[in-house]
């Protein structure tokens, strides 16, 4: 073991004392500016500046960091503290399990794109342009997704084809893409660089086609396709250039077969296939919330109540000529009984439909009832335009829609005027929200939380490329407009190109590892992982190495310590605490994302705190085991402070709540065991709250 100590510009001069056998002490000026050769299995103590700075400089080391600069030099604590910290670090490191480097070869530099909407098409053409072979899997018989169902794209009012068709053209120009329509993913195995995706292609019915259209002419089945009428055999002008039979509605009367110039088969079978790929892009797009579940609005129950999509398709195909329309916003959104969240784009959609209809029918009366109008960016201009065109906006969520004298009536209170209103209308349009396509994520083994795939929809992290071979594009994870979908698609393509630029990816961050000799598969850990990285594979607990973020919560949860976080195993921490804490000391176990930084801040701001405060950096307040608190108390500690992020601000989602529960239970037990229960405190300390930290430890020191 090597101990690398920075002299901190001459301020640190360690005594010439022995640190034990096989421990070599080196003192360096400007440690951070030097390059060290560190062997992969070597353990090093790095004593210098704060680990927040130093850990980036020693990425491959199994290292224990001693914060000499911020914890000794700047607060003006004595050199003996430096020595104590170093000896304790050595004691810890002796028992530390090293951090392993994990290597994932990128075996297949091919990509599977699930979803053939605007995002999937854009990803595919961007990847194909980079020479990467792409297999696109689209569920419907034709590409285009939601965009192909629309008439126009607002705020500008561009016809949908102006955006979609060139995209399809771009994609088809490259011969590196294979497209499966009418196909669905049935299973996924493997990990980054090496996935196997099985898919099933449903029969299309039309095998050869001249696009004569006679089949549709003779087809007796009229289908209402989201507001627009078509036949059971039909064609969409996107891709492929072949008619398709909608077998859900087809009566198999055989009329089309008789007139077909090409070849139609009503008995075609589906095909199963397996495809290998190094990365998967999920571009499954929007899933509309089933607004019939908002029963008070009468969708499917009352004539004239329709969704925005149906309204747009019915108006633009000439089926509907409304005189008086009420749009109901947030139909089933931000609602504890339905979708808890705002779907972001439904306000835009509603505005668009209103514009579409006032453009067409100047005398139409339009009411929009909304709790809030969320018209961000350029949509504000559309909102302004519509007000000036005389559309009446009502603030408030209508209570119900009912029928009176053959008309629809919407009852609502208008918050602008505090008046209860009844609006009679011939058409009521429900602007509903969207959910992610959970089916695909389930097949990919991506865990969902609050309906959303965790990590992907972590607003502050953005698209985190996790699990590292699975990417998302467009509205698959959260509703996005066309522009956002395209940007997101390019970002996904860029991420894939970046990934494929390497032959393997290496990951050095500490992972949770499971000792199978100790693991009883008691499942306690599974649900505690904030990333869904833990699952049962072949009757054993399996930690997905690409998903683990090293918080250590599972390790502390494991009742057998079968799961341990590399570099943070309990035996090592226990010896660290026993070497560090003496009679009358205060042990501070501080989360590296918040409270620990407050101690650095204390150093910069010269906020004084007592020298007997012994600080240990932990990955999360939720990764503090009660045993370790007991260790400190047994050693004579006057108090133990656990410092974590504020509630709901935990870097690992709910780690600090776990810490809270531990603290509560622990305090009760300590009380019964004759300890002052206030000797253990869990405090929320923000990263800059140096003064809060100092005042807490001073109080505990009394």
């Amino acid at each position: 073991m090597r101990v690398l100590v920075c002299t901190c510009k001459g301020k640190i001069q360690l005594p010439k004392k022995d640190l034990g056998p096989n421990v070599i002490l080196e003192q360096h000026d400007d440690l951070c500016k030097k390059k060290f050769q560190i062997k992969p299995d070597e353990k090093v103590v790095i004593a210098g500046c704060s680990p927040t700075v130093m850990e980036g400089l020693f990425p491959h080391a199994t290292a224990e960091y001693v914060n000499l600069h911020e914890h000794v030099v700047l607060p003006g604590h004595g050199i003996e503290k430096a020595w104590d910290l170093i000896t304790a670090a050595v004691a810890k490191l002796e028992h530390v399990t090293p951090v392993t480097t994990r290597v994932f070869p990128i075996k297949h530099k091919e990509v599977i794109v699930i979803g053939g909407g605007i995002a999937g098409i854009e990803v595919t053409s961007q990847l194909a342009r980079n020479g990467i072979t792409v297999t696109m899997i689209e569920q419907k018989p034709f590409l285009g997704g939601t965009v192909a169902q629309l008439d126009r794209l607002y705020p500008e009012g561009t016809p949908y084809g102006h955006t979609l068709m060139p995209q399809i053209g771009n994609m088809l120009q490259n011969d590196t893409s294979r497209i499966y329509t009418n196909a669905e993913v049935t299973g996924v195995t493997g990990t980054v660089g090496n996935y196997t995706v099985s898919l099933h292609t449903h029969p299309r019915g039309v095998i050869e086609c001249t696009n004569c259209g006679k089949c549709a002419d003779v087809c007796p089945v009229e289908v209402d396709d989201a507001g627009k009428m078509r036949k059971a055999i039909y064609y969409e002008p996107t891709y492929p250039d072949i008619y398709a039979i909608d077998f859900d509605t087809c009566t198999r009367c055989g009329e089309c077969v008789k007139v077909c110039e090409g070849k139609i088969s009503l008995d075609e079978k589906g095909i199963d296939k397996e495809i290998q790929a190094g990365a998967i892009v999920v571009a499954t797009g929007l899933a509309w919330y089933d607004v019939a579940r908002v029963e008070e609005y009468g969708y499917k129950r009352l004539d004239g109540v329709m969704t925005t999509l149906e309204f747009e398709r019915a108006v633009t195909s000439g089926r509907l000529n409304p005189k008086k329309i009420v749009f109901i916003y947030c139909a089933g959104s931000r609602d504890s009984k339905h979708l808890l969240y705002c779907s972001k784009i439904c306000c835009f959609l509603g505005l668009k439909e209103a514009k579409l209809v006032v453009d067409r029918f100047p005398d139409v009366q339009v009411y929009i009832a909304a709790m809030d109008m969320r018209s961000s960016g350029t949509f504000e201009y559309l909102y302004n335009t519509l007000r000036e065109r005389g559309v009446s906006f009502i603030k408030g969520k209508p209570s119900e829609v009912f029928q009176r004298n053959g008309n629809l009536v919407v009852r609502t209170e208008d918050l602008y005027t505090n008046e209860l209103l009844e609006i009679e209308a011939d058409t009521v349009v429900l602007s509903s929200g969207f959910t992610p396509d959970t089916q695909t994520f389930n097949k990919l083994g991506v865990r969902l939380e609050h309906d959303f795939p965790i990590l992907f929809e972590n607003a502050s992290l953005g698209n985190m490329e996790l699990p590292r071979g699975i990417f998302t594009a467009g509205a698959a994870t959260f509703p996005a407009g066309v522009r956002d979908a395209l940007i997101d698609a390019r970002k996904a393509a860029f991420s894939v190109v970046n990934l494929f630029h390497q032959d393997k990816i290496e990951m050095q961050q500490p992972n949770a590892v499971v000792n199978e000799d100790l693991c009883s598969v008691c499942r306690m850990c599974i649900g505690t992982c904030p990333y869904g990285a833990i699952s049962i594979v072949e009757d054993k607990i399996h930690v997905d190495e690409t998903l683990c973020m090293g918080c250590g919560i599972c390790a502390i949860t494991c009742p057998s310590y079968a799961s341990q976080l590399e570099g943070f195993n309990p035996a090592a921490l226990s010896s660290h605490i026993r070497a560090l804490v003496r009679q009358g000391d205060i042990l501070a176990l501080l989360c590296k994302w918040s409270a620990y930084n407050a101690t650095d801040r204390a150093a910069y701001d010269r906020v004084a705190y007592p020298q007997n405060v012994r600080i240990i950096r932990v990955p999360c307040s939720g990764a503090v085991d009660i045993s370790h608190v007991m260790d400190a108390l047994q050693n004579g500690a006057k108090g133990v402070l656990i410092g974590g992020c504020y509630p709901n601000a935990c870097h690992y989602a709910r780690g600090n709540f776990r810490a809270k529960a531990r603290e509560q239970i622990l305090r009760i037990n300590l009380d019964l065991l004759g300890f002052n229960k206030n000797s253990v405190r869990l405090e929320w300390i923000g990263k800059d709250e140096a003064r809060k930290f100092a005042s807490i430890v001073k109080e505990m020191n009394k």
């Binding site: 049962i536 502390i556 009742p559 809270k660 509560q664 239970i665 305090r667």
Partner: protein, 321 residues
């Protein structure tokens, strides 16, 4: 070849471990065939002097049950250590401190007061307590010192292996005896059962959901537990995940949750602390006040989480008394 000599001894315990030996039923004959029992106070009339007279290390193995709570017990186990090649704490009390170890939340004075004065069935208005020496017309009588703190066997003498359980199941005893006779012993310090927790073999583990989420803690005496379901999934505290297996799940099969008599698994020092850390992870409440409520809803947490292991825990006993 002479049969190996074996000793059984009984310290602070309920006597259940002695019963466990008897529970070997006809198997006990095999044992008696194979060994020569030289000390078994509960069943045979050997005296301390007989042991003292023996040569050091002449006993092949001493099985000692019960925790160490009196001066006499301390003397006897030290004596047996001297005379034995192997010493095996037999049962939870010797292994972890056991139920007598819960006395560590009090001291001698409090215990005497309760036992000799405060209990309803006691009449002791003068407050007379047992003394180590008493002068009588017939001479001085002595009693061994009653310690403040109950200790595990390994806190008193060095031990070689542990036979866990309250009481150790017969199968495990037979396995251990066989292993000793055949000389097929694991590394010193091992617990003579499996290394994995009870859940490994528990039938109910399959019913445990991936995400355990406890919103309130139920007492087994207040609910009728579903005999098919994992206790924890129902909000009933079961120490199974934190307890070594090999016991044959006798409690679980009787629809009672595990209370941890087999002690913690290999890497864990403090069973109660470890289980509390685990339990806190599955409490599915975010509100601080609610968390407090749940924590406080556990009646007698020391008796629940440290039922068998208080003397072997990190803190060992209540402080300041």
């Amino acid at each position: 070849m002479a049969k190996p000599l074996v000793a059984f001894y009984w310290c602070a315990s309920c006597g259940g471990c002695e019963e466990a030996v008897v529970d070997l039923a006809e198997d006990i004959l095999k044992v008696v065939d194979a060994v020569d029992i030289r000390l078994w106070p509960v069943a045979m009339d050997f005296k301390r002097a007989d042991v003292e007279a023996m040569e050091d290390k002449s006993i092949a193995v001493s099985f000692i049950n019960g925790a160490v709570r009196t001066e006499e017990q301390e003397e006897m186990v030290k004596l047996l250590r001297k005379k034995s090649q192997l010493v095996i704490p037999f049962g939870a009390c010797a292994h972890l401190g056991g139920i007598p170890g819960l006395a560590n939340i009090a001291n001698k004075k409090e215990i005497f007061e309760t036992a000799y004065k405060l209990t309803r069935s006691t009449q002791n208005p003068k407050g007379i307590y047992p003394q180590t020496t008493t002068d009588t017309p017939y001479g001085k009588l002595t009693l061994p010192e009653f310690f403040d703190t109950v200790k595990t066997l390994d806190q008193t003498i060095e031990v070689d292996y542990y036979l866990p359980g309250c009481a150790p199941p017969p199968e495990l005893i037979m396995q251990a005896v066989t292993a000793i006779l055949e000389g097929k012993l694991p590394p010193k310090g091992s617990v003579l059962t499996v290394d994995k927790a009870l859940c490994e073999t528990c039938e109910r583990n399959k019913s445990k959901p991936d995400t355990l989420a406890i919103k309130d803690i139920k007492r087994i005496s207040h609910v009728i537990a579903d005999p098919e379901k994992c206790f924890l999934a129902e909000g009933i505290i079961c120490l199974g995940p934190a307890t070594r297996g090999g016991c044959g799940e006798r409690c679980i099969n009787a629809n009672m949750p595990c209370r941890g008599c087999f002690g913690p698994t290999k890497e864990v020092k403090d069973m109660g602390a470890k289980f509390l850390s685990s339990l806190a992870s599955i409490i599915d409440v975010d509100d601080e006040k609610e968390i407090e409520k749940i924590a406080e809803s556990v009646i007698d947490p020391i008796g629940l989480f440290y039922m068998y292991s208080l003397p072997s825990s990190i803190l060992k006993r209540k402080q300041g008394v």
